[in-house]
Amino acid sequence: MSKNLYGTPTDSTDAQERALVDASCRIPVLLFIASSVFWLLVGTVFGLIASIKLHNPHFLIELPRWFALYLDKFSPDGTVDFINAMLTFGRVRPAHLNIVAYGWASASALGVAIWLMARLCRAPLRFPALVTAAMVLWNIAIAIGTIAILGGKSTSIEWLEFPSYVSIMLFVSYALISIWGVNMFVHRKPGHVYVSQWYIMAALFWFPWLYGTANLLLIFAPIQGSSQAIVNWWYGHNALGLWFTPIGLAAAYYFIPKVIGRPVHSYYLSAFGFWALALFYSWNGGHHLIGGPLPAWLITSSIVASLMMFVPVLVTAINHHMTMKGNFHMLHYSPTLRFVVFGAMSYTLASLQGSSMAFRSWNSLTHFTHYTIGHSHLGLYAFFTMIMFGSIYYIVPRLTRREWPSITLIKIHFWGSAYGIILMVLVLSVGGVVQGWMMNNPQIPQNTFENILKITNPYLFARSLSGALLMVAHIAFALNLTLILLGWGKKTGGPTLFNQLEASEEAKPKESTL
């Protein structure tokens, strides 16, 4: 009988089993994660440009004269005009949204989901070539789609700006991974299906349906009139609620208990939360169209469903809090826990804020203002992205068998992200309410369009500062990831890895047979 790092007697077959599973998904998962971090950097740059343009419209309105003259000499005719057009807000902003939504968030979600699925099924990855092919196709699609948006070929439908041929590529790629997910599930080791598996399976099932339906009804055979709006927001909201949220919660339900070494406080609540989310979330999108030309029952049912979201959200919040209770000091030790707990707390905040935004009175004040942008960043960044960061900090050392090379870079990443996103959400929320109040009271002479712009300007400037903080954090993260992938990290069986050295060594010969 061997012992683990803490001296606990162990059955080495467990460590071997995990080493085999990790080895089997090493290439596709690392490729997904590495490519997603690349798109995160690109997306952040576009986000920052778009943000600066809002308070400083002359920023990058065209290439600097000396550079344009230089480029004109060495490039085909029209290149400078193309780049100048590419840098306009109308192209940079959708490029930012689609790159972070599909290039970063979805790709990192797929990487994390594949690893979690293999771990929880306790089975080596089946058809790794299929998953790798899907990953390559996904990234080619993102690259083509980004160029198309920058080239002016956007569909102009929010969240679905990629042209139709890119949508087909993304759909095929995703469908391949969904089929793989079902296959993994069918061939899992017998035993209990953990709540994270439920979330992942549901997400892999829901997203192709959402994406396929929205593309069919909006791009390939568009329905008429205001129905397009409801389909658009049904998709836009469910992309967050039925794709990113389940993956984020799956990761939180795995990593919080696993890192602190304590089972979920109430497993009943976790199962209940899953089924409540499945029941209520898909109705939520309509609250974006309050006051729009749609049947009243549709909007009202959406508001009711938005408020019913209190049930799964509070259930999850209570469960995560009670699991962490007595273990908050662990946040000092574990990078994964820091990010994941930050994300889990933000989930509660973002969801409760989202529900409150469905109230007609509050909605009429905040919708169509910067407040909504603050909310979407609270959801997709403070909740989802932070959980993905935490998951990557746990997964990558186990796949590369190395420690993270730099603690400083991890800390820069965490504090840059945390302060950056807190600042962004705060300034956009306050600025949004001021903007909304002024727009709703046009009878006051001071509330002119010009004044509204002037008053929101400092908030937008602060938002760019927060974007710069996020950029610094992302560069630190990308640097650390590049270093560990290049083999700079210390090769060890220390606490981050927590693999028993001897067991890992024993597992090595078997890896080669995979």
Partner: protein
């Protein structure tokens, strides 16, 4: 338009049906039984309940384990 109505009906039946089937499958395969015990399925013999599995590189978590063991003993005495 007729095609859309058919598609909507089919997707409602397929999606609603699959959710109901998933719930039925889970209930009939004992997924909702012994739930507290099932919450521990993510732990292994070498990564058991009570032992943290992540830390900044270089941090010695053994001290944390010792601290926990002492706290546990204390609470038993009380």
């Amino acid at each position: 338009m007729v095609l859309y109505y058919i598609l909507m009906l089919v997707s409602l039946v397929v999606l609603g049906g699959s959710a109901v089937y998933a719930l039925y499958w889970a209930a009939s395969h004992g997924q909702f039984k012994k739930m507290e015990q099932n919450a521990t399925t993510i732990f292994d013999s070498d990564e058991p309940v009570g032992e943290p599995t992540d830390a900044f590189p270089g941090i010695d978590l053994k001290k944390e384990i010792e601290h926990r063991a002492k706290a546990k003993e204390k609470s038993k005495k009380v």
